[in-house]
């Protein structure tokens, strides 16, 4: 492999001792069952699968695999609970949701450790971002529960009924929160399925939801892989599907629900453009590039995976980026100093490695940080591809890993055209010290979220969602209520 060497003149010399987050306060059962109708119940067919720690590839626990029979039981429970739940006053529903939020806060540390164990993300991200934001979402929508008439003035919002929710493995607890909170606030009942590689925090959430005393059947959490998801999508008594995941599966869901009464929201893949202008605060922009692509190992649908640098500053930005990549600490997700953790699964690592091969074969110049990767587990060093173009496959397709495709541009109209030259439209970033330029771009970029002089910032009050093949419907904010209500 031809490596693009970095002459790093600012090498760090002081290495920090290991600072592992303690795990002795965490309770993980050997075996997890399905949470249906307010009880943990064994799956009908009695099948279980393993959930693996991606940083060691060792088994953490066995998790029940829900088949179509289990899905049917869960949907029936949700249907039965719907009448009572939807006729509760908003104020009463809000009480339960507030309670869930507070319970997440109380057990935040335990959630953070499990999220990092099961998914491979650095503890500082699960501790400082995933878990607090998940609680934040429940708090936010708890507040809306008794104010729906203000969100939809002069209209009478009604819940849809039973909602099937299928969530991805990159932000397991946070995505569960994004899905559950608005659905519950608006009076729907839910069957939720976490991803098969990261089911543990959703199952912990089931324990908390149980503790909150919410009426049985309102929330059902069932585990399994793609087939379980398909059973939810195809179940005739589900009124709505909310899905976050790959564009491929999103297209399958669209097809499956065509001709039915089900409504759908999809939050799918992305290939976000991160645009650095010559008048940007360069050093902070470099930090923004790192946040955009190496945050959560690049397992972020809104990652800034296509970097566009104005040609006049390209050399400076690339050099500073390489230097910065050298200081990223890659390794044990539970170490408090880890910046980049483990790749979520063996399967995902293979996908990423395959794209890296494609990039090299297509003639891109690869640069990888010289970090030492642990021997066991799934790891990928932070990676750049220089000298690539819109015609390269690694620029066109979502890699969902710590791999950044770097291009240069000359004029503002050129970069707008290139940024929009993708079937995706989830996120974009603009770095400039010129306020007028920011608005010029935000009007023209086809992306659901556009960050100015920052990247990958989330808040419960801010709607999130895609254009084009990145999906439809919004999550978060007042807009996030829309997909869960109907009007007479």
């Amino acid at each position: 492999m031809q490596k693009n060497e970095n002459k790093n003149m600012f090498k760090a010399s002081w290495t920090y001792d290991k600072a592992p987050e303690s795990t002795d306060h965490v309770q993980i059962k050997k075996e997890y069952e399905l949470y249906i109708n307010g009880k943990f119940t064994k799956p009908v067919k009695g099948k279980y699968f393993d959930t693996i720690n991606p940083s060691t590839n060792k088994k953490i626990a066995s998790v029940a695999e829900a088949t179509s029979e289990d899905v049917d039981i869960a949907v029936k429970a949700a249907r039965k609970a719907f009448k009572g739940w939807s006729s509760l006053s908003g104020k009463e529903r809000g009480k339960y949701i507030f309670r869930i939020a507070r319970l997440i806060q109380e057990r935040a540390r335990e959630f953070a450790v499990i999220e990092s164990l099961d998914g491979g993300k650095p503890i500082k991200e699960s501790r400082d971002i995933d878990i607090p934001l998940a609680a934040n979402h429940f708090f936010y929508y708890a507040g809306w529960a008794d104010k729906l008439e203000y969100a939809f003035p002069n209209r009478k919002p009604e819940p849809l009924g039973v909602v099937g929710q299928i969530i991805p493995w990159n932000f397991p607890l946070l995505m569960a929160a994004w899905k559950l909170a608005p659905a519950l606030a608006t009076g729907n009942t839910v069957v939720l399925k976490p991803a098969e590689t990261t089911p543990l925090t959703a199952l912990k959430l089931a324990e908390i939801i149980h503790d909150s005393g919410i009426p049985k059947g309102v929330v059902n959490i069932i585990t399994g892989a793609g087939e379980t998801g398909a059973s939810i999508v195809n179940h005739p008594d589900v009124d709505k599907i909310a899905f976050t995941g790959s564009t491929g599966v999103g297209k399958y869901i669209s097809n499956a629900v065509a001709g039915t009464n089900k409504s759908v929201t999809l939050e799918l893949g992305g290939k976000g453009a991160n645009i650095i202008f010559e008048d940007a605060a360069i050093d902070q922009a470099v930090e923004g590039i790192v946040n955009a692509i190496f945050y959560n190992q690049g397992h972020v649908c809104c990652a800034g995976s296509r970097l566009f640098i104005q040609e006049s500053v390209a050399d400076v930005v690339i050099q500073k980026l390489k230097d910065r990549m050298e200081t990223l600490i890659v390794g044990d997700p539970l170490d408090k100093n880890t910046d980049v953790g483990a790749i979520n699964s063996k399967k995902q690592l293979q996908i990423i490695e395959n794209y890296i091969k494609i990039g090299i074969n297509e003639g891109g110049d690869i640069y990888q940080s010289s970090c030492n990767l642990p021997k066991s587990g799934n790891w990928c060093a932070p990676t750049l591809f220089l000298n690539v173009s819109q015609s390269h496959k690694i620029v066109q397709e979502e890699i969902f890993g710590p791999v950044l495709a770097v291009q240069t541009f000359r004029t503002i109209s050129e970069v707008i055209e290139k940024a929009n030259n993708t079937p995706y439209g989830l996120s974009a970033g603009v770095w400039t010290n010129n306020g007028a330029k920011i608005f010029h771009l935000t009007e023209r970029l086809e992306a659901g979220v556009i960050w100015a002089n920052t990247f990958n910032k989330f808040d419960a009050a801010s709607p999130f969602g895609g254009y084009k093949e990145s999906g439809y419907g919004r999550e978060g904010g007042m807009q996030g209520l829309n997909p869960y209500v109907k009007f007479d």
């Binding site: 600012f10 090498k11 760090a12 010399s13 002081w14 500082k124 605060a281 050093d283 100093n337 920052t454």
Partner: protein, 298 residues
Amino acid sequence: MHPNLNNLPVYDTTGVNERIAKFCSRSIKKSSKNEGLKLAISMIDLTTLEGKDTKGKVQQLCYKAIHPHDSLKDIPTVAAICVYPSYVGVAKKALEGSKINVASVATAFPSGQSNLEVKLYDTKFALDQGADEIDMVISRGEFLAGNYNFVFDEIATIKEACGETHLKVILETGELDTLDNVRKASEIAMYAGADFIKTSTGKIQPAATLPVTYVMLDAIKDYYLKTGKMIGMKPAGGISTSKIALQYLVMLNEVLGEKWMNNKYFRFGASSLLNDILMQLVKAETGMYQSPYYFSKD
């Protein structure tokens, strides 16, 4: 060589603060903590800059500099003692036989509100008394009025008077208000001949802060890339605990790295920091915190 002040990098305060938060969240434990703390002691410019300073006070401080805490083994001495010009001679004598330098503030410290002749005389006086390092202040009024050439020339003149003696240039960042100004002042100081750039006099609040120091380190980095010359950095004022000192060292480690991780290129201007570090080191050795009464205050 002159700086190009029209094309300087700009800074986004929010972005800088986010980066700082990352440095501060590093968890420094066990031997890396001990290593960092000892390094920090060796980087201290132990300082007394008060109107009420006397010969006795300076002598006592010098003794503390040589003997930080005799019951602890392998403790380095501090880098320098920092005093007013009138006590350079006293300090020089008290430190005889040690490797500790004597740094003197000069140029109408702390305000710098005087004419160049007085400033030059102040500097020469300190040099004649035997100062190994000079800490000068820039004319912030002239800087803020846009008279950059004035500021540049003043520094260059003082540097000429210093000759081989190390010159630290105090920007007094607490009066410059913006990070972009800090960058500009750093640029002027480095091109005018500073060996070190220093944040503050300690007389103005805020004194040293992590964001300001970050911008200065970034300026030092770019200057090195352009000229190949290494400039030192000295945050001064307000760094009173081990925790904060370690945050500075993490930042230094991850921004400028190995070559700057020594007292030739990095100093802390501080007075109470030393005892706090000693307390931490004793705790590491004995497993418990001792009362502050056990640490000598000079």
